[in-house]
Symmetry: C2
Subunit: 911 residues, 2 copies
């Protein structure tokens, strides 16, 4: 069941590491002399094997591999990725000698199959497909039935005894070849087909009789001739040569490049080309085709999961004209083949020790395997499969840990729709639940629209009849995907499932009018301004925005977390500003708080009033008076957090943002402030004006506030110490660590540390608290200068916490608030491999982090070092933190499990 | 002529290097055991010498030195700076054994002078003065006549035969001791004096008769007793001990600390204490006192320059009651002493091989030298003296170069008042020309006011009756200084002259009312809102703001520049955006343009209109259309600059600021723009809103604009190439270097370099220009990431230019526009040694610069490297650039001479 346009769409990317420079599959091929260009696979010999993935592509290597272990694979051969690179190196010319090699291998094929390429008697037909080292959904073009000509089509008719089939195959070749190789507009062929259908009064393609098919081939050849200016090639080797070149060309097609950008695939040198003997699932009711996963890729359940169609070719499934049957119904049709498939499934899982995604075809009762590869799965399935396979002794615990993409754990922690709310909701229609998750958004009708609106900050659901590779970017940006056609193995389902993105497919009741921007369902008309909720676990499409609830964690998840904790070296903390967040972080396994921001505590209710009094104050005394009113609130906040953290360390960062963030900027609020403060509006305006800064990010904030207004620092330190003593006296083990933000120089920290220490001593005396108070005092390393002078700064610090958000801003000179103005252009032109605020820039910012760690430890060998920027929850960045020797990472509560798993993977990969 | 409150006020700071860690005088004294605490100087022995400056302070070392070379110095001894450090280390307690040593040395003094400390018969009296390794104007307190008691005052009366003198000395001691040691309010003593003067109907102090003086001493002792709660100490050793401690304490007095901050003096460990036998210039008409410079410190002229007063003590000069006489009138009074002084002057210059600042006293016809030190001088004098001394063979050419503080060259390049304008001006009055320069500003009546208003951006002239050490900060901030009293050696004159700040003193017609904020002169009343112009070269005080003219450069200046060029290794370029600036830079000796900013070219006249059209454009085509209109302007600008630079290299930086800088932000201008562009006001507002950024410094600017709008880069590159070809065809050697700003990654530069190269090729083809065009393409290193990945970036760069302004902003996380909100607090608390935007932060930013240089050269050994931040004209930063191995520095035209000299000094100091 070769599929025309979505080959590759279900390839697996289970690598823990990025599929870039460091990816296991991406070792750059030698730039030296071009070696053996063609590898044969068949009964006589199988030249490739699974270790040659970089050279043969994933598909080619697996075809060779499957052949070697005795699976029924139609014979063929693979042209190497190096040959593709050589093609580009030579200015898009096929390397010298390639076609000679191809001729030799075709001869081998002819010998093995007893057929002859391009011959009238028993013609050998082949498929031509791309296949890179890393699977790239739907990006590469495929040609089937290659070798058919005006002469050999008659041979095929004779051999198969099915002339309609032969001409149907021929018209498919002309169509695909015209489309893929010669760039003929697909619609020209469709129009011709429509004319024939009209002539023969056929509604479905299948209703066109033999004579119509013969006529259609003539029409198609005319279409081809008119569009290309040349006749459709009647030399099968010419067909093959052009097809090979077309595959090479597709490597740098826009879609392929876009996918590689989004998926961050770099370091590959090209695609391989797989040329394989055709087998047909459409030779009658004893034939068929199918795709399957060895386990359920959405749930991880260990059950054979897939679909098949009787008397059909792969493209028929994609076309969505006939509904495929679940694979477990196959015994009713052909028990023997089903049993054979089950055996192969088990053999493959044993061989690859991982869940496989397979394609197969039954030609006149005989089963052929066309492809196997590691199956994509969502996070839920990844966890379950890893655990199950470990239990089944297929893999060990370490392999299980390494097998789960840490970032995909998010999917297990995603909320689902609130069942109570759902009861009251209007279910518009139901489709096939293709990828779990609760998504809410407004309707977007094209991929471009979805991309654009999502970039602008809107949440959108991409609503399409079906999706195609052209839609990948829009699917990426959409909150969820809804299609009116297609099944579990349709393009939308497979891509969304791989990404863990909520997706419902085949919601047939939905009538979509893309041009009008409307979808009709249950008598309702939905437009761009309507919001819907889709449930990827049930297939429900619901009107409006539905409330969600927190997920329950599976026992497999718990197992993976337990295993991870056993193997990781890094400590895991959470960023939490409230007792609630602290509690959640602990529940997810955080061993402490790595970043407790205190400024959020100044906004609620009355507090902001006192904060503003403080800011309005013109003397130290007046400021101290206002601060005294804030003190009890702050103290109570800390007590709450200490209680929630039950003796785990809590790193409290002193106030960081510039004061202008605490004053209102619109006139209405300024008036309110003036009234509530008892000052004139002018006074408020003056204040706001005074606080305005050209570049607040580089302005009067962080520890600079404490230098100017030491009384703020004193109040905060007092609140922390008073809260600590209060807790300790109530037998609550409080472990505060005071963190001074934005430090750039040794003297700055020395001075402020002095103020904190004075306050600690003062409060202890006032409270008459005698026992030793172990309150560590440290700093954020977030200003480049702090990183390069970390040795000096370490002299006054008990700990460092890398604030990689600000460090990234200052190291790149990128304002996070403004980066949207140029980041898209940078991504577009591949000038940045990723958004540096999501994944730590190891080459640049990382050098400063490494320098900070090394210099800090050099000055103070027991310096505790962590990270509290958002990178602390990004798997690749966690690996980096492990490698540079940090003590812990800290991230938002929901990312704690990801960090735990990533930390374990980093430790295991080190060994 | 010991002066009470301005001792140290004329000390020299001729060091090239900062008086900080690296300063020659500042080697930190060993932290080990306290060694010999007291060093004697006198006829019998002289234990110190000039090499012990760090230990004995400048004054102590020079007193010992002068004694050694046989000059008539009153004997005494010096307590070391280490002793001061030990005093602080011990929690402000005099080190054990110190007073024993003091006793021993007093015994030596008694032996040498034949007098006895505290005795009734022939009492030994001493002065106690501070003296650190680096001279600090007026910061340390002094006590004279120490050793006088109720008993010994009578002895002094007997010995001198002048009872009035004895009691006058005693009341001075009580006053100074009370003030300095015991903190008695000076006004209490003044009030007492006024009562006595009233009683004796005296107007001047000198009119108080002997009886009044005796009575005054009684009054003063009561004042002391009442204020301190103890009687004035009658034990001379007790007086001495308390005085020593007071000197130590003054080391950390607010004023001393403030001076050290402003003058950036760090790394010293304390002050020495000099205890010296008193001599008296007020013992009759055969006595006198004076201060002098061995050459004119304002012009450099080789003539004895100073003042003396007959029958007076130093403080009488400072009090401004009597007008001192120029020293060249001394022969009329005492030819022998004058000749002796001239001999000593010559001897001192030969000995120290530098201009000296001396203090002397004639006691009953006998000359005593009280002090010598390297004389402060302004830039004009420094250049002349260095050249003269080289001609006189006192020093060699290298020493001459090293002797001139490079930064002071500014003074030679400062404009003076336009003589034509002056003819029409209203001269309000004339004072003594104390320090050359033309200063214009509004009147400020106190130092605090001057500081505050100047910080707020106003130009002010500090107008005072006289200045005192408390005024130092205000003097620093003022554009010029004007006093109504005092002479050439008054506090104001000496401090201003050392700084090269315009100063007029002794403008007696000026009646200043500080409280009212008024100055009356020539019947006019001047207030804070009036502007005056003062001419420090003529002493004129002029109403209003006078126009200025460029200076003419002296032949000595030319000589120094010639010598500098011979010895420097660094190339010197200038920052210039216009042909005029380019021309000026070349005249000052620049060998090329290191930074030609192109954005300034977009503001003039019509250009801004086209620029705004470009910004308003919504398509690439529309942008290109607007850019095409800008092209001819830009091309002509470059032609002009190439012509002015006559074949010297011109580094052209492509557009750098964010586009919002080119659109108006006030409604009126927005309306105008809308009208002139033919769009709605709303459209303009939308545009401005769209261009707004939270942190423009870190936003869409620099090469990020070129990534988004490659057409801007193409237009600029085209203008450069067309201008180059145009020039070359007219036989004008154009040497453009294209500099891409704000690069942070290798790929960014590779991409943009590619666009530039394409444009060069394209224009060459269009113009049919065949010869090789050597246009270098390089980048600014101004983003921290560029510095840490300089090896990668160098692969695509022909040169680097460090943009240390932005690099400082991002490395510190300091917005230059906003730093004023916290920098003062940082300076106040000594958390920063200097404004990092003025002097390169070598420890932090410098590490990145060094890394950038090293990594860049590592990747490309012939990479040309320079600096074009404002630090390129700062002497200390130039030294740093030399040390890290840059090829050139670039600075504003006026700073080019400074850079040339500093570069030579750096090269000479390296050897």
């Amino acid at each position: 069941m070769p599929r025309t346009s979505n080959n590759g769409s279900r390839g697996a990317t289970m690598e823990i590491e990025p599929k870039g420079k460091n990816g296991p599959n991406a070792r750059p091929r030698s730039a030296g002399k071009l070696g053996k260009m063609v590898y044969y696979f068949g009964k006589s010999r199988s030249e490739g094997d699974v270790t040659l993935k970089a050279l043969l592509g994933g598909k080619g290597a697996n075809l060779a591999d499957m052949t070697s272990i005795g699976l029924p694979v139609p014979p063929g051969f693979t042209i190497t990725t190096d040959t593709c690179a050589a093609y580009y190196k030579a200015g898009q010319r096929l390397p010298h000698g390639l076609m000679n090699e191809v001729h030799k291998n075709i001869a081998l094929l002819e010998k093995e199959t007893g057929k002859k390429f391009g011959a009238i008697d028993s013609p050998l037909l082949v498929s031509v497909r791309s296949g890179a080292a890393v699977s790239m959904p739907g990006m590469m073009d495929t040609i089937l039935n290659l070798g058919l000509t005006d002469a050999s089509v008659e041979g095929l008719a004779r051999v198969t005894g099915n002339r309609r089939f032969a001409f149907d195959s021929y018209r498919r070749l002309i169509n695909m070849f015209g489309d893929v190789v010669s760039g003929v507009d697909h619609h020209l062929f469709e129009a011709a087909f429509d004319r024939i259908k009209a002539k023969y009064k056929a509604v479905q393609d299948t209703e066109v009789p033999e004579a119509g098919m013969v006529e259609l081939c003539e029409e198609y050849k005319h279409v081809f001739h008119r569009a290309v200016g040349e006749v459709f090639p009647q030399n099968p080797f010419k067909q093959l040569e052009l097809a090979i070149e077309a595959v090479f060309k597709s490597w740098n097609g826009d879609r392929a490049v876009a996918y590689r950008r989004i998926a961050n695939v770099t370091g590959l040198n090209g695609t391989a080309v797989n040329i394989q003997t055709m087998v047909y699932g459409n030779m009658g009711d004893d034939s068929g085709t199918g795709v399957a996963f060895t386990r359920n890729p959405a749930t991880g359940e260990n059950s054979f999961y897939g679909e098949y169609l009787v008397n059909a070719q792969g493209e028929d499934v994609v076309a969505g004209i006939r509904t495929p049957l679940p694979v477990d119904q196959m015994p009713k049709w052909n028990k023997k083949v089903y049993q054979q498939l089950l055996d192969i499934k088990n053999k493959l899982e044993k061989h690859y020790r991982d869940m496989q995604d397979i394609e197969f075809t039954i030609e006149r009762g005989k089963l052929y395997m066309l492809q196997t590869r590691t199956g994509k799965r969502n996070g839920v399935a990844a966890v379950k499969i890893a655990c199950d396979m470990a239990r089944e002794k297929l893999i060990d615990e370490k392999a299980a840990i390494l097998r789960i993409p840490a970032g995909d754990l998010t999917q297990l922690l995603l909320p689902s729709f609130d069942p109570t709310a759902k009861k009251l909701a209007t279910v518009l229609c139901e489709g096939i639940p293709a990828s779990p998750g609760a998504a809410v958004g407004r309707l977007a009708f094209t991929a471009e629209e979805a991309t654009q609106r999502a970039k602008a900050g809107e949440k959108v659901i991409l609503v399409r009849k079906e999706t195609s590779p052209e839609d990948v970017e829009g699917m990426h940006w959409a909150a969820g995907i809804l299609t009116s056609t297609g099944g579990r193995t349709s393009h939308a389902a497979v891509v969304a499932c791989g990404w863990g993105k909520s997706c419902v497919v085949g919601a047939g009741d939905l009538q979509i009018d893309t041009e009008k921007g409307q979808a009709k369902v249950s008598g309702k008309v939905l437009t761009r301004t309507d919001t819907i909720s889709i449930d990827g676990s049930t297939g429900e499409v619901i009107a409006g925005s539905l409330a969600t609830v927190e997920p329950k964690l599976s026992s497999d998840f718990v197992t993976i977390m337990r295993w991870s904790d056993k193997h990781r070296r890094l400590g895991i903390r959470t960023n939490a500003d409230t007792p609630g967040d602290a509690q959640r972080g602990r529940e997810f396994g955080a061993e402490g708080i790595g970043l407790c921001r205190t400024e959020h505590m100044f906004f609620e209710g009355e507090r902001i009033r006192f904060m503003r009094q403080m800011i309005l104050a013109e003397t130290t005394e007046a400021r101290e008076k206002a601060l005294a009113k804030l003190l009890p609130f702050q103290r109570d906040d800390f007590i709450g957090i200490f209680k929630a953290m039950k003796g785990c360390p809590v790193t409290i960062r002193l106030i960081d943002p510039p004061l202008h963030e605490f004053v209102p900027h619109d006139e209405k609020s300024q008036k309110e402030m003036a009234q509530s403060m008892g000052v004139t509006l002018d006074k408020v305006r003056q204040l706001v004006g005074k606080l305005h800064e050209a570049n607040p990010m580089l302005g009067h904030r962080g520890c600079r506030l404490a230098v100017t207004y030491p009384e703020i620092l004193r109040m905060q330190a007092r609140a922390i110490v008073e809260a600590t003593i209060d807790c300790l006296r109530s037998n609550i083990k409080a472990m505060p660590e005071i963190m001074i933000p934005l430090v750039g120089t040794r003297k700055e920290l020395a001075y402020l540390r002095g103020l904190v220490e004075e306050t600690i001593t003062l409060v202890k005396t006032e409270e008459d608290y005698k026992p030793r108070l172990d309150i560590k005092i440290g700093t954020m390393i977030e200003v480049p200068r702090a990183a390069v002078t970390a040795d000096e700064i370490a002299e006054h610090a008990d700990f460092f916490s890398f604030g990689t958000n600000d460090l990234t801003q200052m190291t790149f000179g990128y304002s996070r608030d403004d980066i949207a103005t140029f980041l898209p252009d940078y991504m577009e032109r591949e000038l940045l491999p990723a958004d540096p605020f999501q994944t730590l820039d190891q080459e640049g910012v990382g050098q400063l982090v490494r320098m900070g760690v090394d210099k800090g430890r050099q000055a103070k060998s027991d310096l505790k070092i962590g990270i509290c920027g958002e990178h602390g929850g990004d798997p690749r960045s966690v690996h980096f933190c492990h490698r540079v020797g940090m003590d812990y990472v800290s991230c938002s509560p929901f990312r704690v499990p990801i960090a735990r798993l990533a930390a374990a993977q980093a430790a295991l990969m080190e060994k």
